[in-house]
Amino acid sequence: MNASQYLFASFTRSEALATVEIVVSTAASVILGSSLSVSWFSLTLSTSGLFLGVFLVVMFMVSLEMASKRREVAILRALGAKRSSLQQAFFLRIAHLAIGGCVLGVAIGYGTAMLTAECSLLSNEIVGFVVVASLVSSLGGGLVAARKLSYLKIGEVLRQ
């Protein structure tokens, strides 16, 4: 069963906010990485700060999203949908946002670096590092929040 089609009919405000956070943090890290004066140590430190923010924002946004869809999730579970298939649907949704946000963030960061003529300093290693950090933090935040589905009390939700 593709649970996504029943849970995610439209792009919500919390998803938009999470995506903006991923895009901005990724772009900022790419721009930072293209700067002459930044060492690997400072890049890692500042990127960690940015992506810790991404982790927390995504986790919070997915939690909000799940709270707003508690009833739908409870109905699907009551009708026989397995917990794992619903967790997977939430996680796939986050994966789409994370990958989309990451690609857009790299593009914006790269474009900004080009405008400031520092593009040549941007190595593949730096871009790779930023992409991995961006994906790990956003997917991690989504995964931690999606695990909360395990604690949903179906009977109680449907009674409300």
Binding site: Y6, I75, A78, G80, R83, K153, G155, R159
Partner: protein, 231 residues
Amino acid sequence: MSNDKPILMIERLTKIFETDSGRICLFNDLCAEIVEGEFAAVTGPTGVGKTTLVNIIAGLEKPTRGSVTVLGRDVTAMDDDSLTEFRGQSIGVVFQGSQLLASLNVFQNIELPLVIQKVDEAERKRRTQEIIDFLGLAEKPSAYPAALSVGERRKVAIARALVTEPPLLLMDEPTGGLDTAAINILTPLLRGIHYLHKGTIVMATNSLTLARMASREIPIMRPRFLMTCRL
């Protein structure tokens, strides 16, 4: 229809709720046995735990003690995945508030349990259409729940519970919140469902008219307050 094969066995069932004013004990070691083809009405005034009992039988809530065996399987002891699969295949539930998905139309809501069970599309459409025709919803397959009356939503919920042809159908206050006109339409329909469904029906209700339709009544006793004040 009945051949005395037990479909549902409730043994020494108790559910204790913690509230601000103390502990409330529901069912008080309830025991009941419902055989194949039987139409049982779980009766009692509001607050005795009829919905809780339906939820426990459906495996949506756990009892504090006791067991519930449906078709030979103890739903209080099954792991989550097996229970979910078992519920999808063997138990149809009509919830008190209908509980339809607002983003899906009538047809999609009714076919949803078959989609979850991965029934092939042609069979799914056939069975959904059949139940839609039977319940008189043929004019509204593409309507969304918000555009339906409460009675029509209840019909959709009944259709959704019946579409998988479950051996056990649970109905929680099927006429609750309906006006007299809707009740007058739904009551003979429930009679027809019992006649055609051939399965076992357990219906929680506080309506005497509905309870009289059932072949047996299971009255739920008033809850006991184990502790009414905090020290």
